[in-house]
Amino acid sequence: MLRLQNVVKTYGGKSAVTALAGIDLTVTGGEMVAIMGPSGSGKSTLLNLLGGLDVPTSGSILVAGTDLADKGEKERSMFRRTTISYIFQAYHLMPTLKVSQNVALPLHLAGESSAEVSRRVAQALKDVGLEGRSSHLPDELSGGERQRVAIARALVTGAPLLLADEPTGNLDTARGEEILNLLRAIHRERGTTIAMVTHDHHAASACDRLIRLRDGRVEGDGPVAGGGR
């Protein structure tokens, strides 16, 4: 599913910062991977590259067989629509849109018919247990509920790769646990490949495999002890 070869990412001009200093990594389809590391280790950069939100300075990134490194903005956008979905620590819901509208957003961007949209939105909301909340605004929901809306939005396209950036970072333990369970369930039932950046060991322990980053390099890579609970 993911194959990174000698990926380097540097920022800025004169006082260049090297975020990633040559990463080699392979993630097979159906894995659930946690990426951990201290601040500035390059976790978020890596996730952005995986999601095609950014391109590496050098090296190649194969996602589902497509090399994102040499693709333009538009191709990467189109690719994201079908292949990659995101969840964020801050949810990034449109505050002015209702829950169902938020979930429907990626489908509308892809130009799906409205009948199809409503069918899939309903299903996705059911999958995350928010059937009754579809006409609420994000402001009216709790943090956990908001993140579930974000997950529904990620599920709705049926993308095989889900990238999660600190999905439990804004949540208390109980809510965080709920979200992790939901992600595991998705992983299990749909075979979705999940890559999750996290600070939280508890969250990481929900994954099958743990990749540790430090100073833009892979410091460690291996199965999580007791992982996949």
Partner: protein
């Protein structure tokens, strides 16, 4: 896309209703100005055309001559082959004493012969003419339209007091016209009188304004024109009514052309408001944009979303602008009508403004285009926002490219090109003016941003010195959001440039003219019969000069006669007076020739002298001669001198009265210049003259100061509409500040919240917002002063030269400058009111939670 527009955009609008409305208002003002000017112009022109057409009736041709058509031409024309009927006409606008009835168009026709000409019978069904003999026998007889009579409450036999040149006259309604065809000319505000009575009433002597000609069947217009031209000679114009109408239309269109530029200006400022608003919206919504992009939106989809929003704003703004335009068009029409009437002598019927679909479509399109142009750049910027940047916390502001050098260089080059082109025109005419304006505009757009930042940076320490808290807050706000700041400054600077430029131009023109009048108008008293400058309502008989000379205290009287014939397609002025005595008191500025050559050549040898713009426009100077069509045939007048003169924007020729009398055989007089004997009291002489003329002739007797003031008033009237548009430009600038500040406050909600949490009191916050407004206007003024100077110089130079051939020394618009420096702080503070109050009211908890 539809979904996004319906959900995302609409909800954004709902949340930021006030800002959206203000943005919209920018478009509305621009479009309203444009549509109002266009429709007023259209109505004006249409009114002129319809009146010309309706009055022309069945006439195929109309014979006119500068100064009027002598009566005997009638018989001459009647005898020609191919002529079925002819009818003399005198037209004049008068105002009833009851002003609310509106101006009346007086048409003097020969009721006996007119049945062949108008699509109208003055007997029988069409008109109820009580007693034709009585009508003819009594000089106060008039026929009104039924509609007007009803409005005025007139019955047959009633009288209506009307202001005519000789004073107030009571005219008796002796007939009524049914409203159709002819009777609908001039919006039905029609008063038909006998043409010979009209001669008397309006001092036309034994002349008519024109003779309408109906050709016999089988005679073509071309044949008829040829026959008439051959029989009458070149001093007469033989035209179809259509062509005559078109010429008037052209005059009006030329006059209005300037206002199209004005409305364009208003709209471009509106465009800047949109640019500004969208810039800010893009900033505010960057996270949303990032999310959309992460969810798979292509850059193009993001761009389209913003452009669609702009489209909707343009559409709504255009539509509302049209409505608003309709509301103000009536006023514009009135102003334009008055000006064309006083300056050009072209009158249109009152009527209400028509809003044809074409103008509505144009206006809405214009709103859309302006809006799209304004939104284009921000939309593009939005599409280029990468999701990673969008999610980066805090630091985000649409970045100013690190290297501003190329932009500044391009701006300087564009501006320099504009200046060079104005100084050394590579080509001429409208294309030149447009290219210079475009280049100058581009240069300004490119330079205002960097320049305003530079000024702000220089001002920042000063501000902080003045008020540590508010000053710092405001300079941070301004420098921290360079795009917003420069957008607002640009909109304001453009408005102010416009104000300075046009104001300077108007000021220079007035000042130049006043100076010229000081040199040229040196008599003590001016006796004239007509208040209208270009279309004399009344002319004095030449013999009146002797009468005036007999008035005690009068030392000298000179007779000025001015006609406005066409010369090579331009309506020039030919003016004649007693050159010998006049030259003794007039100081001309000579371009070539001198006083001696005028006294000798013009005074004694029948030569002429011309104005500088005549010389420039027709490329004729001393040593050459100008061939003029006189009633006695074409005559060549050698040019003795070229002088600075502002008698006509198309060119003026001056000659001795004797020369004029000899060739034009027209001894009537427009104005008598009266010099008072040493020691005599001017006021007393005036009273004596008034007493002498009272009841016999209309006479407006002005002292020199009054006369100059009256001309100045006419010039001011000419500028009235410009003033309005300048005012609108200021309104748009005001809107710009309000939007910008509202946005600024919204942007800094969190910051303001933090400040309050740290102990800032509301008054400090308010002060910072007010200071921000003041600084924005100050920077805009600093930028606009040089730009406005350039613009004024351009108007006075290239533009004035192109349209009038006049050269005008630049007068700095100190007055406007002073006015602005006084009013702008008030206006800016006012503009800051709402945003400042909004800022002061912010609840700390909400503010900090904000996003």
């Amino acid at each position: 896309m539809n979904f996004l527009l319906r959900t995302l955009s609409l909800s954004y609008v709902r949340r930021h209703l006030m800002k959206t409305m203000l943005t919209l208002l920018g478009v509305v003002v621009g479009v309203a100005t444009f549509s109002a000017i266009r429709s007023a112009q259209g109505t004006l022109v249409k009114g002129i055309r319809s009146t010309v057409d309706r009055v022309a009736g069945k006439a195929h041709l109309q014979i006119t001559m500068a100064g009027g058509v002598p009566e005997e031409v009638q018989e001459k024309v009647r005898a020609l082959p191919g002529i079925r009927a002819i009818s003399p006409v005198i037209e004049q606008i008068v105002v009833p004493e009851r002003g609310e009835l509106g101006s009346l168009m007086v048409i003097g026709i020969d009721l006996l012969g007119d049945r062949e000409m108008r699509e109208y019978g003055f007997e029988g069904e069409d008109a109820d003419l009580d007693d034709p003999l009585l009508f003819l026998a009594q000089p106060d007889s008039a026929i009104f339209t039924r509609d007007f009579a009803q409005r005025a409450g007139l019955k047959t036999g009633d009288t209506l007091p009307v202001r005519v040149p000789t004073g107030v006259r009571r005219v008796a309604a002796r007939g009524l016209l049914s409203p159709k065809g002819f009777a609908e000319a001039f919006g039905g505000n029609l008063m038909v009188v006998d043409v010979y009575a009209a001669q008397e009433l309006f001092g036309r002597g034994r002349r008519f304004d024109r003779i309408d000609v109906r050709l016999a069947e089988g005679t073509t217009v071309a044949q008829g024109t040829a026959t008439l031209a051959k029989a009458l000679g070149p001093a007469y114009r033989v035209e179809t009514p259509d062509r005559r109408g078109k010429q008037m239309e052209q005059t009006v269109n030329n006059f209005v052309a300037g206002f199209n530029i004005t409305s364009g200006f208003a709209l471009s400022i509106g465009t800047f408001l949109i640019f500004n608003a969208f810039n800010v919206a893009v900033n505010r919504r960057r996270r949303d944009i990032g999310t959309l992009r992460a969810l798979g939106a292509t850059p193009r989809q993001v761009q389209s979303l913003f452009l669609m929003e702009a489209l909707v704003i343009g559409l709504i703004g255009g539509a509302v602008g049209c409505l608003a335009g309709g509301a103000i068009a009536e006023g514009f029409l009135k102003m334009m009508g008055q000006t064309t009437d006083t300056i050009y002598g072209v009158t249109s019927s009152g009527g209400s403004v028509r809003f044809p679909p074409g103008i509505i479509l144009e206006s809405v399109l214009l709103g859309i285009v302006a809006s799209l142009i304004g939104a284009w750049n921000p939309a593009l910027a939005a599409s280029r926002i990468s999701p990673t940047e969008a999610f980066a916390k805090g630091a985000f502001q649409a970045k100013i490219a690190a290297n501003q050098a190329p932009r500044i260089a391009a701006g300087v080059v564009a501006l320099d090109c504009a200046i060079l082109m104005a100084l050394f025109p590579p080509y001429a005419g409208n294309p030149l003016i447009l290219s210079i304006m475009a280049l100058g505009g581009v240069g300004m757009v490119l330079l205002v941003g960097p320049l305003s930042r530079l000024i702000l940076r220089l001002l920042a320490p000063l501000l902080m010195g003045l008020s540590p808290v508010a000053g710092r807050l405001c300079s941070d706000a301004l420098l921290g959001a360079p795009r917003r700041t420069s957008g607002t400054v640009m909109a304001m600077a453009f408005s102010l440039t416009f104000v300075f430029g046009l104001g300077g131009y108007m000021g220079s023109m007035t000042a130049t003219m006043v100076k010229w009048m000081d040199d040229v108008l040196t008599s003590d008293l001016y006796v004239r019969a007509s208040a209208n400058w270009s279309r004399p309502d009344f002319l004095f008989p030449g013999t009146l000069r002797q009468e005036l000379l007999k008035v005690p205290g009068v030392r000298a009287v000179e007779s000025v006669r001015t006609i406005r014939p066409f010369y090579q397609g331009h309506q020039i002025v030919i003016s004649s007076f007693e050159v010998g005595p006049v030259m003794k008191r007039i100081k001309y500025e000579y371009f070539s020739g001198n006083e001696q050559s005028i006294v000798q050549g013009v005074g004694r040898q029948g030569m002429c002298f011309v104005s500088e713009n005549f010389c420039g426009r027709f490329n004729l100077g001393v040593g050459q001669s100008v061939e003029l069509m006189t009633p006695t045939g074409p005559v060549r007048f050698p040019i003795a001198a070229v002088v600075r003169d502002y008698g006509s924007d198309q060119g003026a020729i001056y000659m001795d009265r004797n020369t004029y009398l000899r060739h034009w055989q027209d001894d009537r007089v427009d104005i008598f210049d009266v010099s008072v004997a040493a020691g005599a009291d001017v006021g007393q002489v005036r009273n004596l003259m008034r007493a002498k003329l009272a009841g016999k002739m209309p006479a407006l007797i002005s002292t020199r100061q009054e006369f100059i003031a009256e001309i100045k008033k006419a010039i001011d009237a000419f500028h009235a509409l410009t003033r309005v548009t300048v005012f609108l430009a200021l309104v748009v600038a005001f809107l710009g500040i309000v939007t910008s500040l509202l946005i600024s406050v919204a942007e800094r909600t969190r910051e303001i919240g933090v400040l309050k949490a740290l102990g800032a009191i509301p008054s400090q916050i308010v002060r910072s917002v007010v200071v921000e407004a003041l600084v924005i206007s100050l920077v805009a003024v600093i930028v606009a002063i040089p730009a406005g100077n350039l613009f004024a110089a351009f108007m006075e130079g290239a533009v004035a030269r192109f349209y009038t051939g006049w050269s005008m020394p630049h007068e700095y618009p100190w007055e406007i400058m002073a006015q602005l420096l006084v009013t702008l702080p008030f206006v800016s503070t006012l503009a800051a009111c709402i945003p400042a109050r909004q800022a002061a009211r912010l609840k700390i908890t909400e503010a900090i939670e904000y996003e």
